[in-house]
């Protein structure tokens, strides 16, 4: 079966309204769909004709060797890159090319491979920035503070405190981010993304550079976020153990092309995937 045929089959399958997984989580209908995305930088083709979808409530992993185009894919979703060909469908309608802040307002949050926190601010302020889209008071109301601006601040603070509780970072809430160790910074970045109450959360290598314990913590937070808030999660990760344990479905990329798509078990037994990871002589 060629990839195109498989994709047609996938999309037919996708018209279903979802199903219940073995561990009892509800997977809904398709929320985001990438259709035949091609992204070029000058002569370099970073992504070549890739299609896949993300369903409501699932944990979707994107894996592949270095330089496969995984991060570029996330950047397409979050609006940093605009593909030359292909369409992005979100919540049932085709998305026009938009700036990253507009994407954020549609309920898509993300973290970065190399931490992108605001170093000059405290943990609390960093997480509070995740609530900016919910803050509607104007400059003048904020200049006078008393009244609406203060109520809004307190209201959002309550939500942020829930997230801080959830990620167990209460003790460092007033610490400047620049003083934190790497693992905690990753956690704060997740907190900031979760504070935005995203429908879709994109995680770019959430476990990179962590030790086993930190990875276990992070996995727990990801699973809990998915479970408690119902957040759909798309993640890029190199740790295969983590990927196979966490995700419902996996997309495998290599040299900008999709070489596999399916449940962890299917992907694990896919010959193209094995070749890409173990290396095989290209003719």
């Amino acid at each position: 079966m060629s990839l195109a045929e498989q994709y047609v089959m996938d999309t037919e399958m996708d018209r279903s309204e979802g199903h219940i997984t073995e561990d009892g989580r509800k997977i809904g209908a398709v929320m985001m769909e990438m259709r035949n995305i091609t992204l070029k930088f000058g002569g370099v083709v970073a992504i070549k004709d890739i299609s896949f979808d993300i369903r409501q409530g699932e944990i979707r992993a994107i894996i592949g060797p270095n330089g496969a185009g995984k991060s570029s894919m996330l950047n397409v979703i979050s609006g940093f890159y605009h593909p030359q060909e292909g369409e992005v469908w979100y919540n049932g309608s085709r998305r026009a090319p938009m700036r990253p802040y507009q994407v954020a307002r549609q309920g898509i949050a993300r973290t970065f491979q190399n931490i992108a926190l605001f170093e000059g601010m405290t943990v609390l302020d960093n997480v509070m920035t995740g609530r900016l889209n919910f803050m509607k008071t104007n400059l003048f109301q904020q200049a006078f503070w008393r009244g609406k601006a203060e109520r809004e601040e307190v209201h959002n603070r309550e939500f942020v405190e829930k997230i801080i509780d959830f990620l167990e970072i209460q003790a460092i809430r007033k610490t400047p981010v620049s003083r934190l160790p790497y693992g905690l910074k990753k956690r704060v970045e997740l907190a900031r993304a979760l504070a935005a109450e995203p429908h879709l959360l994109l995680l770019d290598e959430p476990m990179a550079g962590m030790n086993v314990e930190e990875k276990e913590d992070m996995s727990r937070f990801i699973l809990n976020a998915n479970d408690e808030f119902g957040t759909t999660i798309a993640l890029i990760e190199h740790d295969m153990g983590v990927v196979m344990d966490l995700s419902d479905r996996v997309v495998v990329m290599d040299y900008g092309k999709k070489i596999g798509d399916g449940t962890p078990d299917e992907v694990r037994n896919n010959q193209a995937v094995i070749d890409a990871y173990l290396g095989v002589a290209h003719d």
Partner: protein, 358 residues
Amino acid sequence: MLYREAGDFKTSYEDDSQTFPIRFDRLAFYAALVVAFGIVPFVINDYWANAVALPFLIYAIAAIGLNILVGFCGQVSLGTGGFMAVGAYATYKLMTAFPEVNIFFHVLIAGGITAFVGVLFGLPSLRIKGFYLAVATLAAQFFLVWLFNRVPWFYNYSASGQISAPERTVVGVPVTGPHTEAWATYLFCLVFLAGSALIARNLTRGATGRKWMAIRDMDIAAEIIGVNPLRAKLSAFAVSSFFIGIAGALFFSVYLGAVEVGEAFGINKSFLVLFMVIIGGLGRIFGSLAGAAFLVLLPVLLKNTLVGTLGWPTDLAAHLEIMIVGALIIVFLVAEPHGLAQLWRLTKEKLRLWPFPH
């Protein structure tokens, strides 16, 4: 022993996010307000008002304005002098065109006009950053000074090319013109400084301030959490220029009385205010006050010591003064790059543990 946060429990988020979370700080702040509003006006004389109080108050407003742009939003600007000139000329035009309106509103409207001009010159910030932006704002500085020199409409076609402030009163007391009293001008400027500091603090502790700081710290990440960079940067330019415009208006109308634009609002002014912000501490409202106090008081102090106490000739003292101030700035920045505000914070950290640091 007084300076403790132990036992001072916060039971609401309002309490937790207040400006002075430590009780002693709060009391000290109220005491400073009482002294500034209730005692100083009764003891101030012309020398203190003109040499120390007025320049400090006015530069502090300008420094708060510039700090919002440079310290909070991370957009370097060298156009402060030009924007102050806009505030000054706007007040002058308003004062002469609508003499019946209270000067208080003229100053506010002048701030508003400067905010608009600031947004115009802030537009390049959407494309360029850092030093390149500084050069672009330098264009604002030179263009605005040139404009006010060359277009006679701005100085009402006066023969000298200067603008001079006519007498205007607030509740019957003159605050501009030749017959002002020290306490009146002092209070007039103090009200503006208090208002500016309060507004700046409110903006920077809330959502707007977080947007600015997000842009400053990492603009890509700011955009991904939903900050519109265009609006965030331009609002920083607007608010910053608003305060700088007010400072320019007061500098001309209350402090100097008569102004020649190239002399009063030249590039030197831009650098002076920028130094205040850097020495005081970027991204701290208190830093702006401290920086302004430092650079206003230091020359006065040096002059009094050199000329008054040591009896040196005035011109020699004047030159030495510049050299000493310059050297102090360098020494200071090497010792504490984060400015006076950081020094103050470290002192407070120590004080919290005193006298049992272990």
